[in-house]
Symmetry: C2
């Protein structure tokens, strides 16, 4: 088949495709803020309506939280099936005053759309819709069966998608899951992500005296939970950034020589790290490069810390309470439940006398790794090469997309992370953006993917 | 002279003395809350008016903050002079819902007044006014010259009193300063405090990345200031509670054997500590008893700690900022400025790489020690023995009353801390109280003090 009609159609409809994306971005579908529940639902209906108009069979599935959208083209047994996943909900927008333009009034400047959800994930997800449109509107026969499962609780950690995937493996059966919710390696380097970190998110709470005490009257007589929490957290890692929790590294899949070479060939420069983070320099586990630590080594970070008085000036108290939120990013084959138990046991073991210790396991996510040598992964590589004009590199990710692990275990098929965003797209931050070039190349990549996924191209 | 007319007068006027104190306690003179500025001034005028009605020469001295009240009886060269200090301002009342009755509507129950300011310091200060009233209303010749210097910024750390004392040593010249703003040792044991701790109140601020980072994207690559602040604080003390700042103990006046014996004879029980603090047990510097640590050993305590996210649930960030408020209670002969410098140097020395460190010296106070063998101290012991019916013990205090040091250095005379409160009077807390028995005994003590201070009683 010739791709010319498809590519011509995409060229001619660029402006409309941008305008329609902007319409979707105008819906403030912040899933974690209940006053936006109606907006969030509207964002689901928006994409459901569009898929229905294209002729797909569409279901808007009510859940205990925000609805799921399931859609499918006519399913034929003689074709392979691709399942596309994405999410229509977005992160909150605070702090609003740091945005250069209102988050839900998309602005296009120098070929870049600025809006909440631009890159994460409406913009990326919409590429799949528009690629499908190109086939259907040009009367080109679709080379694969297409399914969509779209959720609205990705940013608020809702359970609906997990339950649904686990309950409907037959309905969602496919030859590969395609997700565009990650990034290119950099502006010039398309990439496919083959491994995501998992997560164990813990909270430590300490109670010392029954109430805040006068630090003069009682200083030196009882344990201070503010000091105690510091002692505990300080013992989580040594001065070289090595995690000290016994057994923490036991199940870690080592970075092998092939990966080390592949990472090194990307020439990641610490100046980029400093520019992206505002940090004065790199810091982390001794013996590994920055990219190895970012992608392939487990971490242990304080996310929050509190005790006593943090206002202006001075208050002379011995606090009654202290606490810390600590999360560990996990790599294959660490198990979040095992790590959570090791963490709790260690914290209780090292806690100084005089404090009551409670450890909360907030939530966990499994690390995932996708084989790099599957037939469908090869198809993804070819599609992306055609869409972006350059052979993609393999990358890993420090973040977690927990649903990937659920897809793997429930559907037993490769998951392809074809990322069309950029690492500096300000997702979860003010001035989120999405580059139009990546949007158009992403649509083309998906359009090619429909063809490359067929048996004839193996 | 016979004390009978005085003591009879006091007996007869008990109820009125309580009613008048209640009137004063009804004025919400919270000095740190500007909307109470008028109330605070009213509390000053209340005591000024009363002293004027008794025939004293009174000045209400305007300052940049709350007014000072100076008052004096007729000053005769052939009499010794006692300068009484106290404060008419009170602590804030939050959390209001923990009060059993409104803080500014005094309630008397089982011989106890419940009200903010009851013990700290209106109730204690008022004993001196009522003792003086007894002499003046009964026509008894006053055996000493009396001066009052009363402030309204003790609870908000205002500078007016310091400036005034330093600027007016001649006006305030006396043979002893008498302050009732401390406590009996316990319900059955009157006490005179001869040493107060000083203070060095510091704040550490750390800056890591330029903004909060996604802990997945950047975990393991840059220093986390939340972890770093814990490392720093954990190195301030060892596991036995010994402060590790080099030079910290250099100037500490050791607890001598006489003091050790005197402390031990008080039979302080850790059950009392646990009851008073709600702590599970004592904790502190190894090698010292609880009372030695509370009264005579310097401390180092976290008063506040913060970094990143401390709300509900989970937020996966590497914080940009972290900080801690740390105060050290100092003993003679430690110098707060020297200690502040040692602290700053040590913190900067031990700070891990990758964070920018700022250290703020919020404020300091000198530790003080009053000789226990002066003629005026002996007079105070006799007065208190007569007022409370039992020989007082010598105690020290873990808290600071910075003005004591200023009195010592500016007036060069003994400062007598005749405390009429109880350690569990809930000062600075909900349900502040003052026992009527201690109020009446305090008035009697001051009345006796006027007599015991004369030369004829040496």
């Amino acid at each position: 088949m010739s791709m010319d009609p498809i590519l011509n159609y995409l060229d001619k409809n660029r402006d409309r495709h941008v305008e329609q994306l902007c319409d979707w971005l105008r819906i403030p579908s912040i899933s974690s803020v209940s006053e936006h529940n109606e907006d969030t639902k509207r964002a689901a209906v928006f994409v459901a309506d569009e898929l229905r108009e294209l002729g797909l069979h569409v279901e808007v599935i009510e859940t205990e939280g925000h609805p799921l959208v399931y859609a499918e083209t006519e399913q034929r047994d003689d074709r392979r099936t691709l399942l596309f996943y994405g999410h229509y909900d977005v992160q909150p927008v605070d702090p609003l005053d740091l945005w250069d333009s209102p988050p839900f009034e998309p602005v296009i400047k120098d070929g870049i759309i600025y809006a909440r959800g631009g890159s994460d994930d409406k913009g990326q997800l919409y590429t799949h819709v528009k690629a499908l449109e190109a086939y259907l509107k040009t009367g080109t026969e679709l080379p694969v069966n297409v399914k969509f499962i779209i959720e609205g609780e990705e940013e608020c950690g809702g359970p609906a998608i997990y339950k649904y995937v686990e309950a409907h493996p037959d309905k969602l059966a496919c030859d590969a899951v395609v997700i565009s919710d990650t990034s290119l390696y950099d502006e010039d380097t398309p990439a496919i992500c083959y491994s995501l970190k998992g997560l164990a998110y813990m909270e430590i709470n300490l109670r010392g005296p029954g109430a805040d005490l006068h630090s003069g009257s009682f200083g030196g007589t009882v344990q201070n939970p503010g000091n105690a929490i510091c002692e505990i957290v300080a013992k989580l890692k040594d001065e070289h950034g090595v995690v000290l929790i016994p057994g923490f590294y036991d199940d870690v899949l080592p970075v092998d020589d092939t990966e080390k070479e592949a990472f090194a060939s990307l020439n990641y420069r610490d100046e980029v790290l400093c520019k992206d983070t505002g940090a004065s320099g790199p810091f982390g586990e001794k013996g590994y490069t920055t990219l190895e630590r970012m992608w392939a080594r487990p971490t242990c970070d304080v996310n929050g810390l509190w005790s006593g008085y943090s206002g202006e000036g001075a208050k002379t108290i011995i606090p009654s309470l202290a606490g810390a939120k600590v999360s560990m990013r996990l790599v294959p084959n660490q198990d979040p439940k095992t790590i959570a138990k090791l963490f709790e046991a260690y914290v209780k073991d090292i806690a100084p006398e005089g404090v009551e210790v409670t450890v909360i396991d907030h939530h966990g996510a499994n690390p995932v790794m996708v084989p790099r040598d599957s037939e469908m992964m090869e198809a993804g590589m070819r599609a992306m090469e055609k869409g972006f004009g350059k052979r993609p590199v393999f990358i890993r990710e420090g973040g977690s997309i927990p649903i990937v692990g659920t897809f793997q275990s429930s559907l037993k098929q490769p998951v392809l992370l074809l990322g069309y965003g950029l690492p500096n797209d300000n997702i979860h931050s003010p001035n989120e953006k999405f580059h139009l070039e990546n949007y158009f190349n992403g649509i083309k990549t998906t359009a090619w993917m429909f063809r490359e996924a067929t048996r004839s191209h193996v």
